[in-house]
């Protein structure tokens, strides 16, 4: 075990190296540039490839090319850059190529701000590019969790032959925390039966494409992808719960906001308020069942995000009309403070807040 103090963005980068990633393509954008800067130095040390692309559009397509050879490849970006990558991500999902993508979110829309936000939840979880596809999307809340998720991300990407997205707010990307990197090596990259490359012994040709010009073929391919996404839904959904069994009000948050809410819940418990917390670790697949199983016992759900309400739609979908869902959000780079969330919770419990309703 090595325990080091490291910035979230650098933890991504170091974990990627330890997971066997040797191909990085990226474009500078705040607040993720430390990933690039770290790998610009680190990749040559391990004989890897580091290319600063001319744009995020080019970076994701370089990932596409490297991933097509079976190489463990990665790109990292922040919100506006992630929008530019949507074309390549859609093509990768269609062509079934594995890779690991990181979006260190900032305020939007457009240029927005460069400070931390959770403004791209819907883009990440509902499909940002064209066509019928999903990305297994993790939302780590600590630098340690960022490192741990990154270490296993290529295994998941390769298992499902689909890109894996790590969605993190700029706060986690920028903060420094102690991280333990496990000494055991990550899974060795395997030789894939689908990857293009030097053809030894006249093996059959391999063609990587998302093109299916015959409508029946395209439909068949989409159904094949759907079956795969259903397997991910069933097997990969992950979440954390705190005091939810007897909770009368269940808070829900991801990323750094979940840490704020944890503090709020702990304090509320000390004051005799039966509060609990559900923290989705995967935001796609979303842990709907974690919410469903609390509908009978909880009197209310309270979602806190660093946006104007995106994940709250998934909570509403899970809870249905069986309990009110409340929402509190800060935006544009402002992280909600425990005090303001606690005060909003008090108001909710006192009946002074109108529930959030997006199903108008």
């Amino acid at each position: 075990m090595t325990r080091i103090l490291i910035k979230g963005n650098e933890a991504f980068a170091e974990a990627a190296i330890r997971a066997g990633c040797r191909h990085y393509f990226g474009y500078p954008i705040t607040p993720q540039s430390e990933v690039m800067e770290y790998l610009a130095r680190r990749m040559p040390e391990v004989g890897g490839v580091f290319i600063q692309a001319e744009s995020e559009v080019a970076a994701i397509n370089m990932v596409y090319g490297a991933a097509a050879t079976g190489a463990r490849s990665m790109t990292t970006t922040s919100s506006p850059g992630f929008s530019l990558m949507q074309e390549g991500i859609s093509y990768m999902a269609g062509a079934e190529l594995p890779a690991v993508l990181v979006n260190v979110m900032r305020g939007g829309p457009g240029v927005g701000s460069i400070q931390p936000a959770q403004s791209d939840y819907l883009q990440a979880t509902k499909g940002g590019g064209n066509g019928d596809y999903r990305l297994l999307t993790y939302a780590p809340a600590t630098v340690q969790e960022m490192a741990d998720i990154t270490m296993k991300a290529w295994d998941k990407a390769e298992k499902y032959r689909n890109p894996v997205l790590i969605l993190v707010d700029g706060f986690i990307g920028q903060m420094m925390e102690a991280v333990e990197f496990k000494d055991e090596p990550a899974t060795e990259p395997v030789e894939h039966t689908w990857a293009v490359g030097i053809r030894k012994e006249k093996r059959p040709l391999r063609r990587i494409t998302s093109s299916h010009m015959d409508p029946a073929d395209c439909e068949r391919h989409n159904r094949h992808l759907k079956a795969k996404f259903d397997r991910i839904r069933k097997d990969e959904v992950a979440w954390e719960e705190l005091y939810t069994e007897d909770a009368e009000v269940v808070l829900a948050a991801f990323g750094v906001v979940a840490r704020v809410c944890r503090a709020v819940v702990e304090r509320a418990r000390k004051e005799g308020i039966k509060a609990g917390l559900i923290r989705p670790i995967t935001v796609w697949p979303f842990p709907y069942r974690a919410f469903r199983q609390r509908v009978r016992t909880a009197k209310a759900f309270f979602v806190v995000e660093m946006n104007e309400g995106q994940m709250v739609e998934d909570v509403q979908m899970a809870v249905g009309y069986d309990a009110p869902v409340y929402f509190y959000g800060r935006n544009g780079g402002i992280v909600p403070q425990p005090n303001e969330v606690a005060s909003e919770l008090q108001k909710i419990l006192a009946g002074g807040v109108t529930p959030r309703e997006d199903r108008i």
């Binding site: 290319i51 080019a58 596409y64 190489a71 293009v196 063609r207 494409t209």
Partner: protein
């Protein structure tokens, strides 16, 4: 019986979807012949474009990686950087390379990526039905320049081979055509040089191949060749603009 002429092994016998008189078939064949003469067919990874040549993988028997419109040089970069022993080429049309993929081609060339680019310029968007391209000739009527291409709204025809030849990372840049037998042979020689630049690890190589598009030019195949010889070659001079040995040597026809 002595065989004096046959189909290259890596040019498949699939019936192509190309229109009568189209240049792609000839160019595919030149690529396949070159690769086989160089003896590297088992190391080739092709990157088809979006457009008429998007179905390249059906006609050329190599591993292939097809991606988005214009992004071929970025995809080829990823492949070549991951597999330096592979022989990587992108095959792109003029809409793909000179318009939507202008940034990707320029920067792949500027990095001196060790890839080969076969750039087919037929002055229109073929697959989508003959719209104006950056390469469309001034005055040329297309479905999106119905009164003829004019400078004030669309600028000038883009000369890619000359443009890329200015970049130090580019070690071979030439323009050829496939309008007659003599030029087809010259085109084959240029394609070979562009692949040799990659095999020697020198840098980036591109061959711009002028080709006819009878369907979208609304011409009979023979008329289209005559028109191309008269008009296209005037706008797009043939020759080598960069070779590993020397500076620009522009031999107009």
């Amino acid at each position: 019986m002595k065989i004096v002429f046959e189909r290259p092994n890596t040019l498949t016998d699939a019936v192509t979807h190309y229109c009568p008189g189209c240049g792609h078939g000839v160019i595919h064949r030149l690529v396949a012949e070159t690769i086989e003469r160089l003896g590297v067919e088992d190391r080739v990874i092709a990157v088809p474009s979006i457009g008429c040549s998007g179905a390249l993988g059906r006609y050329l028997a190599y591993d292939s990686v097809a991606g988005a419109h214009g992004r071929g040089p970025a995809i080829a970069t990823g492949i070549k950087r991951a597999l330096p022993d592979a022989v990587v080429f992108s095959y792109q049309g003029d809409g793909d390379l000179a318009s939507i993929g202008a940034a990707e081609i320029l920067h792949a060339a500027n990095r001196g990526e060790q890839i080969t680019v076969i750039y087919v310029n037929n002055a229109v968007y073929g697959m989508t039905g003959g719209q104006m391209a950056p390469t469309t000739l001034l005055g040329q009527v297309t479905s999106t320049s119905p009164f003829g291409r004019e400078i004030s709204t669309t600028g000038w025809p883009m000369r890619v081979a000359e443009l890329l030849a200015t970049l130090p990372g580019v070690k071979y840049s030439a323009r050829v055509c496939v309008f007659d037998a003599a030029n087809v042979i010259k085109a084959g020689a240029a394609i070979r040089k562009a692949f040799e630049v990659q095999l020697k690890g020198l840098g980036f190589g591109i061959v711009e191949v002028l080709s006819q598009c009878p369907t979208n030019w609304r011409m009979a195949p023979r008329v289209s060749v005559k028109w191309a010889e008269e008009h296209m070659v005037r706008e797009y001079p043939l020759g080598e603009f960069k070779t590993p040995e020397g500076d620009s040597q522009c031999n107009t026809r």
